[in-house]
Amino acid sequence: MKAKIRKIVTFVEETHTEMGRAVDPATRRAAAVAVIENPLAGKYVEDLSELMTIGEELGELLTQRAVAALGIAGSSAESYGKAAAVGENGELEHAAAILHPKLGTPVRRVLGKGAALIPSSKKRGGPGVVIDIPLGHKDAAYVRSHFDGMEVRINDAPRANEIVVAIAVTDSGRPLARVGGLTKDQIKGEDGLR
């Protein structure tokens, strides 16, 4: 593996009630987050292909971890998202190199499908920076019940020469979703949008 991983953290969250009303079955989401060395920290490097390869590796590893943390088959995942936070000696473009060119293919391989764009966010920050991973339905981006976000935070990362890379997967939408729009049973799943 090209990625030099310092730690991997998984987060699992289940919501059982909201405003006193039962959420049954509970909504569940998981994030798997890797803290890696940024091989390009501290200097301007034109070619970012090394980070793209790392993105490909982490796409597979973190999606497998997130799905395992939920205890579901990849094909049972409903929504997903990805994010990266670059330490202070790196560029925002380093996050882009990890997230965008190659990370998505292995994510979709683990989940069986994934016609929709994987929503993403990125930022630069210090240790403990809060990362809000956007979430959207994996087969149809317009499914309104699944627009969501999951917050993750690792108190000791990213250090200056590190990057935090996160993938979130759910088996459900928001608790008590009721603002209309396209529902998951209306998905055609052809264009990734509806």
Binding site: I5, K7, V12, E13, H16, T17, E151, N155
Partner: protein
Amino acid sequence: MHEVQVRKKLIFVEEIFHEGGPRASTPLRRAAAMAVIHNPFAGRYVEKIEGFMDDLKPLGLEMAKSLVAALGGDPKVVEGYGKGAIVGSAGELEHGALWHVPGGYAMREVLGGAKAIVASTKKVGGPGTRLDVPITHINASYVRSHFDAMEVGVSDAPRADEIVLALVMTTGARVHARVGGLKASEIKGEDGLR
């Protein structure tokens, strides 16, 4: 007797490979289980609250078991533990103290009679408050390599009338522990201290 109303359950698992030094042959794992519960005493002064400790015992056991499961299912791998509570702003610090008995009892029960006092901390705070849960060796509080802490928190909890309860377990020493003191191999295991 108060019903324990759980809004959310969360599990965080950290797998730490190194911290700038030699890569650990067995990575250190730390896991935290959290439950966001309704505070039955929020908003007023209630003199008699002790009974809620018994009410919390089943939840404590469930959380302790889920931690062992998150660490692979074998309680024998657990070497460190700690507990904590974050009380929402309509509650008292004393409500957090209700977690001492059921939280500690649950972990000892699941770990088969751990001898050391369970390190703990608590505070009053708003949603997103972070708590550094202290960690010590399960059989001898003075084992220096196992003094540690794990940061926990939930972005949307505790609301004013909620309490976040936390249990933490670890599988070993700090990843590059090297400041001497009592070693795990030197534990007498009689008094819970050495």
